[in-house]
Symmetry: none
Subunit: 202 residues, 2 copies
DNA sequence: GATGCTATTTATAATGT
DNA sequence: TACATTATAAATAGCAT
């Protein structure tokens, strides 16, 4: 892409590297965003610029939420994590700190306390709205039909339920047949596939 | 990109969604890989497919190293750097205009403030736990079957989905009666019935 | 360093097999 | 059903500000 084809190897010039990083980072963020919306998927992206600056992205769920989901997977699905316990502890601590500890002990001025409280209240509000939306969506799947009023809605729900049911039936068949565990492709595999320009398929 | 311009919104068809996910995931992995080489940077990407399958990628350092680096940053840095300029949703706006905020700024003594903060934090924690549980239940209904591991669970979900589907179909009939539209069984329904019959014969 | 501008390369939506 | 092809949209390398 661009005036000339670029070899994929470390860019030696610091300036060029920084420029390329800045441009490609934006492109990458856009693509991650698009994928998360198009496919309604949990994606988390964490990157450090050559200068060590952090950029992170996640879709509708927070990076912490996705990391939590990631870390709570059975180990064989996630691959080998050497310092899993450290991460899990840290993440728990983080979730706790982000709400309780740091807020309570480090504030020194009235305004920063107010600001903290405001942040917390916003977080609660956000959480509750999210919870209510999630519950509402769940209700339909659990047979509560009272909030449906139009033909479009019923049909939409019918389609979704059928899709979900098909998935579950597929899963049942899988479980009944051989109990094969889906392998998670490793980094090395991914890199190899990318270099071969023959990528893995889902 | 492609024959036609695509609107960035959730793809409703489960098949199309899966296909798009698969293609775009490969594109994304390639771009992440290239950026990590070109700019010699730490990048971690974690994503869950619509079916709940995990894909993760990182450059020269492992995902857990990058997560460790990420989690060991001071919280304010993580917060400030958060790059979600693509996600200016109405929900976030709602949160900002939240009326709760005003309720939060009236305490006067230090200890009562601390108490309030603690309460708020506990509420957030409770909310988040509840939210995570609800999301988990919802995931199954939305076709992510990855967290089901036992036969009992699949069968339980199958029963629940069938019940919900019957409710929805009943509701549809009611609405159809009101609208005087004659009923035609959907393709999905027919497919499902066939699959169930085949299934029962075993 | 960031931004804007093309000429090109690259990614991919729709289609074909 | 899944994989290959193609026409088109999108990203971006090299330059110029």
């Amino acid at each position: 892409m661009g005036r000339a084809k670029l070899k994929i190897k470390r860019i030696e010039s610091i300036v060029d590297r920084q420029v390329t990083f800045s441009k490609r980072r934006n492109g990458l963020l856009k693509k991650v965003y698009e994928l998360s919306i198009l496919c309604d998927t949990d994606i988390a992206l964490i990157m450090f610029s050559p200068a060590g600056r952090l950029t992170m992205f996640s879709g509708k769920n927070s990076v912490e939420d996705i990391l939590t989901r990631f870390l709570s997977l059975p180990q064989h699905q996630r691959g080998i994590m050497c310092n899993q316990e450290f991460l899990q502890t840290t993440l728990q601590k983080l979730n706790y700190e982000s709400s309780l500890a740091s807020q309570c002990s480090s504030s020194s001025s009235r305004s920063s306390i107010s600001k903290n409280i405001e942040d917390l209240c916003n977080e609660i509000k956000k959480c509750k709205i999210q919870l209510e939306e999630t519950k509402k969506r769940l209700r339909v799947f659990e047979g509560d039909v009272s909030e449906i009023t139009s033909m479009n809605e019923v049909e939409d729900h019918e389609v979704r339920l059928n899709e979900a049911l098909n998935q579950v039936i597929q899963k049942k068949k899988t479980l009944e047949g051989k109990c094969r565990i889906s392998e998670v492709p490793s980094n090395d595999q991914i890199v190899r596939l990318i270099q071969q320009e023959n990528f893995c398929r889902d």
